[in-house]
Symmetry: C2
Subunit: 241 residues, 2 copies
């Protein structure tokens, strides 16, 4: 039986301010929850419609009905389990390893995709401007699953980071060097900007190296690439070299 306070707490975690207050985030569904259980994340409480036998500490799990799960779930057809996990403390910024920097990414789907890309390409540090969407947003959690604990995600002053790093710093823009003919270093910082406005001017002026993914379609008409697909192509180019 779910208490009123439990329902209130869980539904409040849709919002960043309550996640920060309670230091908890939500993961849902068997596959996603299992990925978090098999990671370094610390389980606070598991609500499930059938027993999760591999969680031995019975204080941490609570069987609930399907109707109750529907009440606390983000989904119309929830999938057996909803877990509350602790938000870990942020790791320290490392100045000299391959880093992706995000400047004001708004869309949870884009952030989720970029976290998975970092994981795929072995980029272990992702630095986000403070106005980038929260990585513990339920939509980000759901789309990244296990990747969330393999990439160190840090929200900080990105101008300060870019000023301090000794690595060459790159960004993508319409008129830059052709990525296919530029020689790219093994170790670098790649800055990607907001979906509508790109990298803000105060950040952009700190970046020496501007790259362009050449267009092959109709030069005039084609819109810009989505930020997540552009990140995919750029990381692939850095890593293939």
């Amino acid at each position: 039986m779910l208490s009123k306070n439990q329902i209130k707490l869980i539904t409040s975690l849709q919002q960043k301010k309550y996640r920060n207050k309670s230091n908890l985030f939500i993961a849902e569904g068997v596959k996603c929850v299992n990925e978090f259980l098999n990671s370094d994340f610390v389980l606070e409480k598991l609500f499930c419609t059938r027993d999760f036998k591999h969680i031995l500490n019975s204080d941490k799990k609570q069987e609930i009905s399907n109707t109750e799960l529907k009440k606390i779930s983000n989904y119309n057809t929830p999938n057996e389990v909803l877990g509350l996990f602790e938000i870990p403390s942020e790791k320290k910024v490392v100045l000299d390893k391959f880093t992706v920097v995000l400047d004001g990414i708004n869309d949870p789907g884009n952030l989720g995709t970029i976290i998975r890309l970092c994981d795929w390409f072995g980029v272990s540090q992702l630095i986000c401007s403070k106005d980038t969407v929260d990585c513990y947003n339920p939509k980000v959690v759901q789309s990244t699953m296990g990747s969330l604990n393999r990439v160190s995600i840090i929200y900080t002053d990105i101008e300060s980071f870019i000023s301090k790093t000794s690595l060459p710093v790159y960004t993508a823009m319409m008129r830059g060097e052709n990525i296919y003919t530029t020689s790219l270093p093994k170790n670098a910082v790649l800055v990607m900007g907001n979906e509508a406005n790109g990298v803000r001017e105060s950040v952009n002026k700190l970046i020496l190296n501007k790259l362009t993914i050449p267009k092959f379609g109709d030069i005039q008409l084609t819109e810009s690439l989505n930020v997540a697909t552009a990140t995919a192509i750029l990381l692939s180019e850095f890593k293939r070299s």
Copy 2:
């Protein structure tokens, strides 16, 4: 003033079967509608909360109130205009030009991203299995905008297409040739599969060339890449060569 029949027609166009029946689809918002107006698509009717002066044929435009626009819009905060456009007849399949083939893509966002990628990389033909999400789905229309009229999208029997084309056919899978060390042809067919299940077996066995995007992260743990980001990386590799 919107009539009941107009409201009924417009809201029915959320569903594929009614789009096919009436041969119409919806585009919304100033930017998106303008892209369709500046294209080869034929306008059936424009509903707008302010006058769109550049549409001279006044039979084709109808001023409505904000409240009315809210009734027919997909959005909580609709943006001035909703247009109905004719679904054009499908172009003929061309067997010998660079083609992306999609096998059972379900997610409108993924289809939209892949259409924009085709446009960017100058891939003018996209062939979809009949169970791939409809490209006139409002979410696809909204995310592709102008690209929708620059890529020829054809729903057909993809096994038959793959059997008939004289071009080399490629797909991506976990254990294939490293894309960074394989020499790729200028002209080819690239087959991408369903989000959860990949390319179905009956299609896969027709494909000689299997490619892999190498993982740089933790080999065991990283999930597969999202189909749209994988398509981005593969198209970039084909086009850079």
